[in-house]
């Protein structure tokens, strides 16, 4: 029963990420306001980042014992047993490395898009995409 519940919770996370992806894409394409598009773009990027971290996740090897964070505590170490224990507990570090740069790059791109929106407002007096399309004429 407990395994089924754990499975269910993880599946909810997985499925809701896909739903989130669809919703943010819908908002990105169909919401007419520039700020709402930016918000949806942020949600889209964050969902993809959570997805990447989810891919790198790893179940705790022995469910009966409480989990401990995988830290190389004793370095310099005398034998390889520390390293073996570390490798048996640590999650995949590659998705985390990709996500950590993606978050900061996403923030920088967002700053650029906000500058763009600032200029849009200055030139057209509105951020509504329908209005801007009409004004361009």
């Amino acid at each position: 029963m407990v395994e089924l519940l754990e499975d269910y919770l993880f599946t909810i996370v997985f499925v809701s990420m896909f739903i989130n992806l669809g919703l943010s894409l819908f908002g990105l394409f169909y919401k007419p306001h520039y700020t709402k598009k930016l918000i949806m773009l942020g949600i889209l990027g964050d969902t993809l980042n959570v997805f990447a971290v989810f891919v790198g996740y790893r179940a705790w090897p022995s469910p009966s014992t409480p989990s401990r964070p995988p830290i190389l505590l004793t370095y310099p170490f005398e034998n390889t047993s520390v390293l073996v224990e570390f490798t048996s507990r640590a999650v995949d570090p590659l998705p985390q490395a990709l996500v950590l740069t993606a978050v900061v790059i996403g923030l920088a791109v967002m700053v650029f898009l906000i500058f763009l929106g600032d200029n849009l407002y200055k030139h057209y007096g509105t951020l509504d995409m329908r209005e801007i399309k009409r004004l361009r004429g």
């Binding site: 499975d7 499925v15 570090p93 790059i105 200029n119």
Partner: protein, 261 residues
């Protein structure tokens, strides 16, 4: 009411679909094993028994970011540089106000006093995150993003003119950012240059000596573990990210002057 109905529909779709998948035996519970590639990274991130493969950093994420896949991160830094610089290019040509900060600007005295205390504390935490990035979770990107919170706080709570009166001007931020980017470039070719001078083979973005190249960045400096180039990359990335964001926020939040004057 309609929003509530939409929410209920979406939630029930998620819950029902998950239940269906679980009952059908499709499991998304992660396995207890990691991929072979991850094992290779974890095994060599700090391993004195493999001196030609290790990075000498107990923090494998930073080791991947700046050593195993360092060239990727260099290009990520390029994207960051271009995003900020194109934002600034869009914001140019606008006359912005430059007032003297007065006592009536910003929020109340209580908020200002609390910010005066917490601002330096946030900076200290950011420096700790950034400069210990090769030992504990953190690094230049995260530390820089944390440090960039401080100018935003000061702009909101005092005013943007208070910052420039205190010496955090756009020119200085641009200088700091350029120092950071030049430092990243210099660190990436440091070992290569040393190899050229010594006449030994060495590679761009090399950190620790490899089997084909004996040149190595010092990874213990005066008894402290610095993991070769990782510490320097973290330092310069910290400068570049924090100053770049501070620059963008300052320019974005400075009010524009009227057309009349």
């Amino acid at each position: 009411m309609r929003t509530l109905v939409k929410l209920v529909v979406i939630t029930s779709v998620v819950m029902g679909l998950s239940l269906l998948l679980v009952l059908a035996g499709v499991s998304f519970y992660p396995s207890s094993r990691v991929r072979w590639l991850a094992l290779a990274y974890l095994n060599t991130t700090y391993n004195p028994y493999l001196p030609n493969f290790t990075v000498w950093s107990p923090e494998s994420v930073t080791a991947i970011v700046w050593d195993y896949r360092g060239l990727d991160t260099l290009y990520e830094t390029t994207v960051f540089f271009l995003a900020i610089i194109s934002g600034l290019a869009l914001g140019r040509g606008v006359k912005r106000l430059n007032l003297k900060p007065g006592g009536d600007m910003g929020l109340s005295l209580i908020v200002k006093t609390v910010t005066r205390i917490t601002g330096p504390m946030i900076l200290a935490v950011a420096a700790s995150i950034g400069l210990h990035g090769h030992l504990t979770p953190g690094g230049g990107f995260q530390g820089g993003a944390t440090a960039a919170v401080v100018p935003v706080l000061y702009i909101v709570i005092f005013s943007v003119f208070y910052l420039s009166w205190k010496g955090v001007s756009t020119g200085r931020m641009l200088t700091m950012r350029s120092i950071g980017l030049i430092g990243i470039g210099a660190t990436s070719i440091a070992v290569f240059t040393a190899g050229l001078l010594e006449g030994a083979p060495a590679y761009v973005f090399q950190n620790i000596a490899k089997a084909t190249s004996p040149v190595s960045m010092p990874y213990y400096i005066h008894g402290a573990l610095t993991s070769g180039t990782l510490w320097w990359f973290n330092l310069f990335e910290f400068l570049a990210v924090s100053a770049g964001f501070a620059l963008a926020f300052i320019i974005l939040m400075t009010p524009e002057a009227d057309k009349n004057g």
